[in-house]
Symmetry: C2
Subunit: 336 residues, 2 copies
DNA sequence: GTGAAAGCGCTAACAT
DNA sequence: ATGTTAGCGCTTTCAC
């Protein structure tokens, strides 16, 4: 293993000069800096992270806590994780993967043992048991999602309320007067996940504002449930012509079910969704949707964390504005 | 921060005794051990991993390299990753997440900087550029998948050849005489991923052994491609009654396509697959399948790594035997 | 602008 | 069975 003293000897300077030349934490003559960098490169020097952590109280490692519970969308989590790792690397940081299962103990463990400098927590619940811990921890953290009380925390997410409103406004502009929201599985609401509730709030508010008749239906993540909901919708709202779907798993089955029930999309029924673009684009009828920007959230979250590590204060709440793409699933209401 | 000297003072022993009592690396009187553990618990002592790594040359962190390229199945990767993290925790280890993108540099970086003790590499190619590095590294590693030459490496994977054979044997036993394999997207073969080729070999060998007429078709991961392949199959092998699918993305679309072309599954056509059980169970026609045991592979891979870290020699190759579950998609051939 | 030297908290070899 | 102590490789005063 090549260490800092090796580089120092090779460059003809002292170890501390190597350290400073490489970190830039104090002025070094251009000439020395060059020689040191050259030597480090030549010898393939990699600072021992343990030693660095011990002396400098920095590991350059971030913790990422991923959920693995029912109702979460795996590709979304994965995309998010990859974007976190990629962005972290741009800031010369690595990422330690923790599962939700480890809970508060896991967070405390990696923080107290100085394994990580900062934490990124996904899938935050309205009354998340980890919040007090995260507030107290001496290490900065960023949460993906919003709890009921986000004071003292840094949170980021898609503006789900605005996303739902955008969907409804779009349908209203197309002349639709009776709309429904097909939402997440019931357990998501029971768990009190903020984003699901915000979608409902945005949906309802926008529907009321536009004087639309509206209804909300949670839906299990199975094709059978989609079919059931479709039938129920037509029974309870016979004049229904606009649907907002916030449930990746049933988007396609739902459209199938509607068509099997004799409704053409978008001829008889306009469908919009809040889902990853990738999904919206690749189903039989490409769906007008508000994107779930997992990659962007990941990038932004890491950037927030880096600012906090650097001592900069960052806004407590970051809401990413919805971005809607019109596709083949929405059309003006056909007047009977 | 509470450190080992704090615990030592509290327990009335020396720091080294605390270290030994906690690690069990030398005999400690029952009485002392108990006192030390009690003090550690009471004070909430967490060894500083940096200090431990520096002194003990062990970080208790594993690197996991995940693929993120075209043609890989995201939920499978995620399930695998979660099982790796969970198993690693059972051995008191954490997991650092690396992306394939970082390539050899990434591996060298985390190894040289003593960030990790060992490496787990997914999605190994037949002629993987990382192999020489992994052979040379002073740190143990385990690969998921098999390269062309696995000498000197530790590899583990489902026995894909046996899996394909099991599918064909199953069809043969049911009386089918003309069979086809719908395989991975062409790029997977071009990349020379071993498992795809082994499936082809197993399929062909078993078909020949049973004197079945057979054909192999790569297939893009889109419903349109599935449709095209289905049509092509019926055109080129009009007597086709058995299909093996090794391509998660098109399993359901393919069955849909066959039925739209007038073939009932399993009435006219028996379908088997090599895919995650979760997928096989949850499509319209539950499919007889050989499971893709991502979670088991993850667990076993970590166990192998732990043995290697402990100095035990482990077999170079571990092939998990296929496990087939019969479902609704296969039936005896109807004699016309 | 650069160097010398004191630790950071832990483990393990060396004592007893 | 336990204690003493010398580092592990780095960062960061403190000195010049």
């Amino acid at each position: 293993m090549v260490k800092i003293t090796d580089v120092a000897r090779h460059a003809g300077v002292s170890p501390s000069t190597v350290s400073y030349a490489l970190s830039g934490k104090r002025p070094i003559s251009e000439e020395t800096r060059r020689r040191v960098e050259e030597s480090a490169r030549l010898l393939g020097y990699r600072p021992h992270v343990g030693a660095r952590a011990l002396a400098g109280r920095r590991t350059n490692v971030l913790a990422l806590v991923v959920p693995l519970r029912a109702g979460i969308n795996v590709p979304v989590v994965m995309r998010f994780a990859v974007s976190v790792v990629t962005t972290a690397r741009r800031y010369d940081h690595d990422v330690l993967l923790l599962t939700q299962e480890e809970g508060e103990d896991g967070l405390r463990r990696v923080a107290d043992s100085a394994l990580v400098d900062a934490l990124l927590v996904m899938d935050v619940q309205l009354h998340d048991p980890r919040l007090p811990l995260l507030r107290d921890l001496d290490r900065p953290s960023v949460m993906i999602g919003f709890p009921a009380d986000s004071a003292g925390l840094t949170c980021i997410d898609l503006d789900f309320r605005a996303a739902a409103e955008a969907c409804v406004e779009h349908l209203a502009r197309l002349g639709h007067r009776v709309v429904a929201l097909v939402g997440s599985p019931p357990e998501v609401y029971v768990r009190q996940t903020a984003f699901a509730q915000r979608v409902v709030q945005g949906f309802t508010a926008a529907a009321d504002r536009n004087r639309l008749s509206s209804a909300v239906h949670p839906c299990e993540a199975t094709p059978a449930a989609a079919r059931t909901v479709a039938e129920q919708l037509l029974r309870e709202q016979p004049a229904l012509t606009g649907v907002v779907v916030h449930n990746e798993a049933v988007l396609e089955p739902l459209i199938d079910a509607f068509e099997e029930l004799g409704l053409r999309v978008p001829g008889d029924l306009s469908v919009t969704a809040i889902c990853p673009d990738e999904l919206a684009e690749n189903i039989r009828v490409p769906v007008t949707s508000v994107a779930l920007p997992s990659a962007e959230v990941g990038t932004r979250a890491v950037e927030l964390l880096m600012k906090k590590l650097g001592g900069t204060t960052v806004p407590e709440a970051t809401l990413l504005p919805p971005r809607m793409t019109e596709r083949a699933s929405t059309a003006p209401r056909e007047l009977a």
